[in-house]
Symmetry: C2
Subunit: 548 residues, 2 copies
Amino acid sequence: MFEQHRETLEKALSAIAERGYWSAYPESPSPRVYGEGAAERGKEAFESYLGKPFPLDQPGTGSWIGAERSPYGIDLGVTYPQPLVDDLIAAAEAALPAWRDAGPEARALACVEIVDRINRRSFELANAVQHTTGQAFVMAFQAGGPHAQDRALEAVAYGYAAMTSSAASARWEKPAKGEPLVMDKRFTVVPRGVALVIGCNTFPTWNAYPGLFASLVTGNPVIVKPHPRAVLPLAITVLIAREVLAEAGFDPGLVSLAVEEGQGLARTLATHPAVRVVDFTGSTEFGDWLERNARQALVHTEKAGVNTIVVDSTDSWRGMLGNLAFSLSLYSGQMCTAPQNLLVPAGGIETDEGHKSFEEVCAGLAGAVGRLLGDDARAVELTGAIVNPDVLARVEAAPSLGEVVLESRAVKHPAFPDAVVRTPVIVKVSPDDSEVYGREHFGPIAFVIPMGSAQESLEVLRRTPQARGALTAAVYSTSAEVLDQAERAALDAGVNLSCNLTGGVFVNQSAAFSDYHGTGANPAATASLTDPGYVAGRFHIVQTRRPA
Amino acid sequence: MFEQHRETLEKALSAIAERGYWSAYPESPSPRVYGEGAAERGKEAFESYLGKPFPLDQPGTGSWIGAERSPYGIDLGVTYPQPLVDDLIAAAEAALPAWRDAGPEARALACVEIVDRINRRSFELANAVQHTTGQAFVMAFQAGGPHAQDRALEAVAYGYAAMTSSAASARWEKPAKGEPLVMDKRFTVVPRGVALVIGCNTFPTWNAYPGLFASLVTGNPVIVKPHPRAVLPLAITVLIAREVLAEAGFDPGLVSLAVEEGQGLARTLATHPAVRVVDFTGSTEFGDWLERNARQALVHTEKAGVNTIVVDSTDSWRGMLGNLAFSLSLYSGQMCTAPQNLLVPAGGIETDEGHKSFEEVCAGLAGAVGRLLGDDARAVELTGAIVNPDVLARVEAAPSLGEVVLESRAVKHPAFPDAVVRTPVIVKVSPDDSEVYGREHFGPIAFVIPMGSAQESLEVLRRTPQARGALTAAVYSTSAEVLDQAERAALDAGVNLSCNLTGGVFVNQSAAFSDYHGTGANPAATASLTDPGYVAGRFHIVQTRRPA
């Protein structure tokens, strides 16, 4: 079954080895790509869920719960089955042996079919992502749709590559006195057990798919526990996965949804003795709790980080400002990869438009953000809405942290009057205020920090990720020496570094099949979302041998 | 440098993919293989260490300590530098960047040179292993020498394969409106940090080499902390590694030795914030402690297990008895892979020599062991000596656990009058005595258990590894159905299974490059010594990208 996906799998395997540009799922929401009427049908499909019980049929269903409210000001009114944990886990365990016995190839091809079918419902998912995360529609389509699907396929490929890197059987023939010793051996991939994926509020699909598919392809049944504010995108995902698995003759109990309204379900699930893998994206506090307490499981976490940009010099003043303004504004900085700290020499920088003082850099940046977000109707298509009250509170408190370089502005959304939209606030703080800029202020909040020298900036770049975690870092410099030093600092810090981004590539975006997301080498994450360390622990190899 | 090892590395990479028969280092101690006089020179080299400070020059040396006593009754009198922990760690950290920057290939080739040079000193190491573990000489040569060296090379190959499975650099070219977006990317392997290897008493080299070389090849400096009773083999290993690294222009601080006389050093090292990888072989109690407490590190443990053999029927009664007798006798059962529980139908078994009652199976086994070890001079070459007083105490206590089928016999070693040598004790216990046979009795102690049926035996085979851990399991049956059921039970139990061993392959032996040692799928070990899960977490990938 699903033989038709072999070519996609092969291409994905080449892509993860080569890590150049490749994408399986087009990111353009154009009707030329996804077909006439696809957008409208996706919107209708989304709307058909609203105000109703979600059509998910899984065992262990208690009452129906759910209280999602769109950051654009709409109550979704979708309800989901409240799980009976032991029933879900029993269903997962019962489904495991046949899925294990199907082997790596059948599992990988079935996973590709799931991703493919998710892709065909990208518009439906885009609406669901938009109205749970507050992302603008195009971003919700791209990041929540094809980009997430590429990451899913990438995880399938990494899992498949790891499982098949050694032979599944071998004849062993050892020379010996008299007759050689000959044994036939079989090496079977066995999963760790039941896996749990704990989703986040801001990127419910993008951040959940790698763990979901890495666990599933390696043979583990997966329980998906979405963030209570962002259930729908993962409910649709689980629905599709169960459909495909059932069609392929597997037990749909391999993938199930565990929804809660309050708190505590993630703890219960993550510490259940049968749960052997946990993937989590969210707060450092809960990630640390999981690492400490889910001792029976392999735990992968992505937590908070403080992302640093070193500004030393540039040969494209306008390109740099435009690029930074975009990175600060995109989804109102509500990305784990968004830059927070801009380290600028107090004495200013050299540019292609001459020397710019520290104040001119600040003003240039403020002006670039202002221009980018000057028109409300266009601004909201970039910023989206503020995802939750905590982010809003931080934006409002930010001016008290230092000297305001750019005030945050409340933007009226032309289509959604109750949407909470805010442009970035930029605050100048002293290099001595490390208790301020040394921690994450998740949301549209950036700090500009006047540094004594590029060397001092690089020292902060080297130190911050190890102390506080970081998912991204960047440097602007025309000096080959400074760039090399920045690269060495990034290696020591264990953080991915972008150099001199002045065009259409942004520090907060990572491309599947080429860019690693996270490293595992600093406290922000235990592994990259896609590297051998992310997949290898999810399965074991059990051997049998018989005389030939 | 070390270009000459490229072919060995390539062959090792093929071998880990194919997992058929391959060995880089000949296991025969014959002069035709290792050269005339090699044995004598090795013995002299070993003897030159006795009664003296070991010639190891490393920073952070306090006083000189050491109290190894050979199980053959000789005080070794070698002393070693007592480490100043912070100095050793500082030396390791200082050595890290250049080793990281050398890259996977240079590290892998240097590691092969280390293993190669270890191989050339196999006789010296064999004497050291013999007189710290109590292994008989030939076994000390093979298991402590070439077999351990093959495992080391295997770990190098796994590490190298994992590090190089994706490109080290790439050009990313994304189609875009107007000009394509083009970025040059570099992907650098960075190690986790300082690694610690905690050696065991019985297989100081074989069990330490995989962790040592897996960590080293992936860029981590390694501190080797031997068992206080088995220091010398690892001291020689560290000496060789430091020599090679220094010759290659690296800081020898990359590998160092941490010796103690008492207890506590392993805890101090394993919980040091700079130590990021821990490999341990030894007791379940301390392994569990490490997993609970060394939270800053990736911890791989190999702990106790209860190895089960299901006897259902055989087409080679004599072959089976001879094979089992050998497995029980080899190194007096002081192997984590030695069988402990023999599950035999109470109603007896069918064989090529007719039906054998349960009592006949017991008697057959006792007779086979008795014949194998009947001659003292030959017996000691198989059993070696008892490694420590704990094992001796268990052997002496074993008769009280049930009905003795075969008594242990004290054997006088013809060459070493003070050696403590014991043959295996076999005790019949009831299937209800799971509190007796359900735990590990490390040493020459086996239980024969009369079972109601093969199905009951298979149920114990399925249950025991998950409950108590297991490194090996075996089954004897002429029924294809029983063999298939046993294989399924082994998959569920997560234990490696050997079927119908009646010749020169033994359940307690695993061949490098073909057999996996441990699985990670049951509590006896967190990973196989050689699979992707064992190496992948030891390094991360850090990316930098620049516009092309």
